[in-house]
Amino acid sequence: MNRNINNILRFIGLILIQVTILNRINFGGFINPQIYVLYVILFPYYNKHKGYFLLSSFFLGISIDFFMNSGGINAFSLTLIAFFRQNIFNMIIGKQDKYENMTFHEIPIAKAITYIIILTFIHATSIFWLENFSFEQLGTMFVRILLSTIYSTVIIYLSLSLFLKKK
């Protein structure tokens, strides 16, 4: 129950932080970090609640889209990484029986960062592809994807290590 409330608070909090602060930060002209990917990373359940997971990720993405006038770009990308989260997790960190009992402090830093980088990279690639929707300016797009991945990873890792309780 407690975890449910946490999850809902995180849902609302991440939207607000994203649209009120991070979307207005202007690193190097055109990058903004996407902290709301943290929702997918921290979503506490998996196997039993996959439907809930996919739908809530969709709703988080579409809320961001409402603020950014971006159609369904963020919703598409967030649902995409939500769907493949477990596969990526198994691949990088190894099979865990219960994602929910795990905290990020138990994972070696290198593995945790790789995991975050892969998720943010897929997410950013999806976002910039959908936004561009063509093969023009592949170079610029690739730079944007890389920078966006780096900024998002840094900000997500920082907030994980600052705000997660140590057990």
Binding site: N23, R24, F30, G51, L54, F58, M68, S70, G71, T79
Partner: protein, 278 residues
């Protein structure tokens, strides 16, 4: 039958996933066409309200620049007043005589404030704090005193969203200030201080630093709004047109107050044009 149900039940999350992806993809494609981007936008009262309250915070930080701009604009308007002009030879009386000259209003101006501005994406949108209640209509132009901002794409009760000129889907009719050659201005992405003016025939004569203004051939913007200056140009091979890089007068990251222009004659012009084609 049982097998089919089992099959579907086993893969229900894959189907849910694919369904979500299809919906969001459809929303994204809808959004590419600015006449149809009605579904997901920031003109709702909730989203607009949040943007307004953020905006109230950083309004104070910009007061200095804002004042400077207003003073400059005032000075420009003062210089256009009748009291700043002198009569040369001609009897002004005949011009102010209502029978000799009838002035009909063609454009209405409404002031608005930008409450959310994006400029980092390939396709940017802006939210402003005026909507249907203030007489804003889809397709109205949005400008500042020194540049073109965009076109209203959808209107809510109190807020409107604007398709920014920093967007693949918007092109503006523009011309050289010194001659009447016109072309279309678009944004190639990447750098918000570089626009491309295309379709200017190679007969046109101009030099670097010349001013580009809006042309009169659009029903959205009046003629003569400043856009920017020519930074460099070249002729495309095998074509008879120039490819001109234009540097805008304003920084699109730093705009606050805008004017919405409503062309009172637009419906009439459209009607006439439709009659012609029918």
């Amino acid at each position: 039958m049982q097998q089919l149900i089992n099959f579907l039940a086993k893969r229900k999350y894959i189907f849910l996933f694919l369904l979500i992806q299809l919906i969001t993809l459809w929303l994204t494609i809808q959004n590419k066409d600015y006449h149809r981007s009605k579904f997901i936008n920031s003109t709702g009262n909730f989203v607009g309200g949040i943007y307004t309250s953020i905006n109230n915070f950083d309004k104070y930080l910009d007061l200095y620049d804002e004042n400077k701009q207003l003073v400059e604009e005032n000075a420009k308007l003062h210089s256009m007043l009748k009291s700043s002009m002198i009569e040369v030879g001609i009897n002004m009386q005949s011009y102010t005589d209502t029978n000799a000259l009838r002035i009909v209003q063609k454009y209405n101006f409404t002031d608005a404030e930008i409450i959310n501005n994006s400029y980092r994406h390939r396709n940017n949108h802006i939210t402003i704090n005026k909507g249907l209640k203030n007489g804003v209509n889809d397709g109205d132009g949005v400008i500042t005193s020194n540049g073109v901002i965009g076109v209203i794409e959808s209107t809510g009760e109190n807020y409107s969203s604007v398709i920014s000129i920093l967007n693949k889907n918007l092109q503006v009719n523009a011309k050289l200030k010194k001659s009447n050659y016109f072309g279309s201005l678009s944004w190639p992405g990447k750098d918000r201080s570089k626009f491309i003016l295309s379709d200017i025939p190679k007969e046109a004569k101009f030099s670097i630093g010349d001013t580009i203004i809006t042309g009169g051939y659009s029903t959205i913007f009046p003629e003569g709004i400043n856009i920017g200056t020519i930074e460099k140009f070249n002729i495309i091979k095998d074509q008879n047109y120039y490819h001109i890089t234009v540097k805008p007068f304003i920084d699109y990251a730093n705009i606050k107050s805008v004017y919405i222009i409503h062309n009172l004659h637009r419906e009439e012009i459209k009607e006439t044009e439709n009659k012609k084609t029918n």
